[in-house]
């Protein structure tokens, strides 16, 4: 299990960023704005990507 976790996820902080982004999108969908949720999801993914890249640079 640990091997698969490392290979498929491997990075706790990225996982947290992604889950928080998904949670925000889901809440916005529940509030009745599914298109806005799509844009927020994309924004969250881009921010996560920037964060993950800079962390790997350190």
């Amino acid at each position: 299990m640990k091997v698969l976790y490392n290979l498929l996820i491997g990075d706790h902080l990225t996982l947290i960023w992604v889950l928080v982004t998904a949670l925000i999108s889901w809440l916005v969908v529940r509030l009745g704005a599914p298109t806005l949720a799509a844009f927020l999801l994309l924004l969250g993914v881009v921010l996560t990507m920037i964060n993950t890249t800079y962390r790997k640079l350190r």
Binding site: N6, L8, G10, T14, S25, V29, A37, M49, I50, T53
Partner: protein
């Protein structure tokens, strides 16, 4: 009317199979064909078992598709984000010093460089274990994409094959819908066989960069579908997502390489 059902199913299924093909090609080209194809076969096997077990009742299990979209989308997204980060650093001429993946890749490459008779029993065992790990990841990614897209096709087949939209005008609509979906699979498989060789000519780093962007794009799209977001333009939004993610990576590359030049 039957032919219209077959055509509609063919067109809709082609879109889904192309999405699965993109991931399988990406996995095969960058992580090895054997695990990618094994994952594909296992994906089809799982799909066949699900369809055989539930049959037309699958239409009542839409939540199953939603859950799979969410879980597989998030996993693919996490996997893709790591690939993109590595690709950006490589393109910017920087390599993460404490990146476990990089260390893993370096160790595998070093062991592979040794001739088999130069490797100790310990090296052999280590190489086998590391290769198996990488294979499992490649297998999991292609398995997930084939299962998810296959399920989407199954839902399309049921929608067109059992729908009342066509009234009594269509006899045996389900058979024609299945035929359309299978024909789409054959066409897309032939397309994959035709394009995989030219793609091997693409430089490895460029390929890994593109694969990272694709995995992140599909992961975002599927996770979004699972969460219930409304992608403007439906499947066409994949192109927009890929473009935004690619532009963001280019800006990151420029920024990181510029910073490196300033500190040098």
């Amino acid at each position: 009317m039957n032919w219209i059902i077959a055509l509609l199913t063919f067109l809709a299924a082609t879109v889904e199979w192309v999405e699965a093909l993109t991931i399988v090609l990406a996995t095969g080209l960058t992580m090895g064909w054997r695990p990618a194809l094994r994952g594909t076969l296992l994906g089809f096997l799982a799909l066949a078992l699900i369809v055989a077990a539930f049959g037309l009742l699958l239409a009542k299990l839409a939540f199953l598709k939603t859950i799979l979209q969410l879980v597989i989308g998030l996993l693919l997204l996490l996997f893709g984000l790591r690939w993109v980060a590595k690709a950006v650093l490589r393109s910017a001429g920087r390599v993460g010093l404490h990146d476990e993946d990089q260390i893993f890749e370096r160790q595998v490459a070093a062991l592979r460089k040794l001739a088999p008779d130069q490797r100790s029993a310990e090296d052999q065992a280590k190489l086998a274990a590391m290769t198996a790990q990488a294979d499992r990841a490649a297998q999991a990614v292609s398995f997930q994409s084939v299962l998810l897209e296959g399920l989407e096709v199954a839902f399309i087949v049921i929608t067109f094959g059992v729908s009342d939209h066509f009234g009594q005008a269509a006899a045996h609509p389900l058979g024609f819908a299945v035929g359309g979906a299978l024909l789409a699979l054959v066409v897309v498989a032939l397309l994959g066989a035709a394009v995989h060789r030219p793609l091997t000519q693409v430089p490895e780093n460029t390929l890994k960069y593109i694969v990272g962007v694709f995995l992140t794009t599909f992961g975002t799209f599927w996770a979004g579908e699972g969460l219930g977001v409304a992608w403007p333009g439906s499947d066409l939004s994949l192109l927009g997502l890929a473009l935004v993610i690619w532009l963001a990576t280019r800006m990151l590359v420029l920024r990181i390489s510029g910073r490196a030049a300033r500190t040098a």
